[in-house]
């Protein structure tokens, strides 16, 4: 981040006007900053109410909850919801689909922005590169409803492709659905994902390329042995973040397409929670599923971070 003016002092370091020599008591320091708290308190309250209070709402996972009786009046049932949950065949389908899609995303969608960034970086003309970037960033800003609607008009029955190939329709094919999900994710976010890799490429010192070239490395070898290693730290960081959200696979994307391909193919943990809880009224089981997912996600991100540090890389916290 560039500083707007050429100055060394940052807001954090700026001393208060005429700081007194003696140490202030805590009460005096709080009084001195009384106006600063008018900035902090609304935001802090927001996070308390909308991020921490809902955490308490997870007690529903241990209750036979009905909205009529509320948290106070609903009987406690211990782990009964979790027992019911893990013996539910639908949850197993949801879990399996979630893991398959997550694995496919990791193998197919994760490397796509790296490949695209390398390709664009190797272009000679920066004008062409900027033009391509404009086009490939755009789908990131479209909602899933729009993306799927557009895909429906192109690849669905009666769509663009079916005008050329009779009877072509991949949008309702349950067998290839998981690959379709990955393809849509690549279409939407692959371009956007290149931004961070471009920054990493820009950070690689030019003299490394020069040295490699003098040692006789061709363009391909320079990419393999200079550019790719330069991308490893960023890729590791993104991988850690991705692993933390491994159980969150394109919720809106799957929710929107489930009616077209059926539950067997498109049920994931989040859609399970939505259909069972909000629509089905099985609040306890749905909350238990959500809590299970949340806990696994947090554990995974902590574990991945630790693992990355052990491998000698940098973690994220």
């Amino acid at each position: 981040m560039s500083t707007p003016t050429a100055t060394d002092t940052r807001v954090e370091d700026a001393a208060r006007p005429a700081p007194p020599r003696r140490r202030l008591t805590l009460r005096q320091r709080i009084w001195r900053e009384r106006w600063t708290y008018t900035f902090i308190i609304p935001g802090a309250l927001f996070f308390l109410v909308f991020a921490y209070v809902p955490m308490l709402g997870n007690v529903v996972a241990f209750q036979d909850y009905t909205p009529f009786r509320g948290f106070g009046g609903s009987p406690w049932v211990g782990l009964a919801n979790f027992n019911a949950l893990f013996s539910d065949p639908e949850l197993l389908i949801a879990l399996r689909n979630t893991l398959i899609i997550a694995a496919l995303q990791l193998v197919l969608a994760f490397p796509a922005p790296i490949a695209l960034a390398l390709l664009l970086d190797s272009l000679m003309s920066s004008r062409v590169r900027r033009m391509v970037q404009t086009v490939v960033y755009l789908p990131h800003f479209l909602s899933w409803v729009i993306v799927i609607s557009v895909w429906q008009q192109v690849f669905g029955g009666g769509g663009l492709v079916s005008a050329v190939i009779d009877g072509f329709d991949i949008m309702t094919n349950a067998d290839t659905f998981k690959l379709l999900v990955v393809a849509q994710a690549v279409w939407k976010d692959c371009g956007w994902g290149t931004i961070i890799f471009f920054a990493a490429i820009a950070g690689i010192p030019q003299d490394r390329y020069e040295a490699a070239a003098i040692d006789g490395a061709g363009a391909w070898q320079r990419m393999r042995h200079v550019t790719l290693p330069g991308l490893v730290p960023v890729a590791t960081l993104l991988l850690i973040l991705n692993i933390g959200s491994i159980l969150t696979v394109g919720f809106e994307q799957l929710l929107l397409q489930q009616p077209m391909v059926g539950m067997e193919a498109a049920e994931v943990l989040d859609t399970f929670v939505y259909f069972r809880g909000v629509l089905g009224g099985e609040w306890g089981i749905a909350t238990a599923a959500g809590l299970f997912k949340g806990v696994i996600g947090t554990v995974l991100v902590l574990a991945a971070n630790k693992f990355a540090k052990r491998l000698g890389g940098e973690g994220i916290f």
């Binding site: 500083t3 707007p4 001393a15 900053e33 927001f46 909308f50 479209l142 409803v145 557009v150 769509g159």
Partner: protein
């Protein structure tokens, strides 16, 4: 100056090409077949990304016969689909709801995010600020889940109100961190001088900090705005009343769930309505246009916006 005049011989072809492209002396331009391959790949990628959108826009203007027959690109055009949609009302209501949501939501989000960011910019001097910062950061690593959020929104009486789409997501922790990073790099002397002159904390914030932070505020405004415009699931969850639906839910109903668009059914003694497919395309276009309009402005800033957050956050 150039070596060709010194040696008196013309330079090899690849050296001339390298010079023309402004490349460093150690870099040779790739051979023609590599260039051709790259060009092909780029053309394919650009077509894959852009053609579906161009096709949808074109088909929304297609004349009825061509839309029914299904063509790769229409050659005859008509505005009937848009006329029917604007007469129908449901889509217009959706667009109006989304517009309100985007404008009000973005303004409030920006106000609350930037004030919190300024409050937390001096954690060393303000007792308790560090604790609040950690509390905010922690929310990036867990979320309570769909059901507890739903129950909270319900308990607050926000169901069926557009406010349910603004209030629960008012401040994004990630955006707050990005703005805070920017604030912390503002020139300290200026703010210090204002303090010595007796300016209060709010005066400093409104008169100095915000005007200096226009670039980052622009990025955040656009990110928030896109988020509000694209709101779908929360609307599905919290809003049952179709009069309150934002455009994304309307779009899902008409294009994906196959609900009939008003005005698309034939009426006796009236000219036949445009085919359903053009109507669907037109709804898609209307839901996309605002994004396409802000996109050029967005593009100037977003590399910076993404990177400040991702690297320093």
């Amino acid at each position: 100056m150039s070596s060709s005049t010194v040696s008196g011989k013309p330079l090899p072809r690849e050296v001339r090409r390298r010079k023309a492209a402004g490349l460093p002396p150690w870099m040779n331009p790739p051979p023609p077949w590599v260039r051709a391959l790259k060009a092909l790949a780029i053309v394919l990628i650009v077509l894959t990304m852009a053609y579906p959108l161009i096709y949808v826009i074109a088909m929304s203007f297609a004349a009825p016969e061509q839309a029914r027959a299904g063509v790769v690109f229409p050659t005859e055009f008509s505005l009937d689909a848009y006329r029917v949609i604007f007469e129908g009302g449901t889509v217009t209501t959706g667009l109006r709801n989304s517009l309100w949501l985007t404008v009000v939501g973005t303004a409030l989000s920006l106000a609350f995010t930037s004030t919190l960011a300024w409050g937390l910019a001096r954690t060393r001097q303000v007792p308790g600020a560090k604790a609040v910062l950690i509390m905010v950061l922690a929310t990036m690593f867990f979320s309570a889940g769909i059901i507890p959020n739903f129950l909270l929104v319900k308990a607050l009486g926000l169901l069926d109100s557009l406010w349910s789409l603004i209030v629960p997501g008012l401040i994004s922790a990630f955006n707050m961190i990005v703005i805070r990073n920017f604030f912390m790099n503002l020139p300290g002397e200026l703010i210090e001088a204002a303090r010595i002159d007796g300016a209060g904390e709010w005066r400093i914030f409104l008169r100095i900090v915000l005007p200096l932070s226009k670039p980052v505020l622009a990025v955040m405004a656009l990110f928030y705005a896109v988020g509000y415009w694209n709101t779908y699931f929360n609307a599905l969850l919290y809003i049952n009343d179709s009069e309150q639906w934002p455009i994304q839910v309307v779009l899902q109903q008409y294009v994906l769930a196959g609900v009939t668009i008003p005005g698309s059914l034939p009426v006796a003694d009236q000219p036949p309505p445009p085919p359903g497919v053009t109507l669907q395309m037109a709804v898609i276009v209307l839901a996309t246009v605002p994004i396409l309009l802000v996109y050029p402005f967005l593009q100037r800033y977003f590399t910076k916006g993404v990177l400040t957050g991702a690297i320093k956050g």
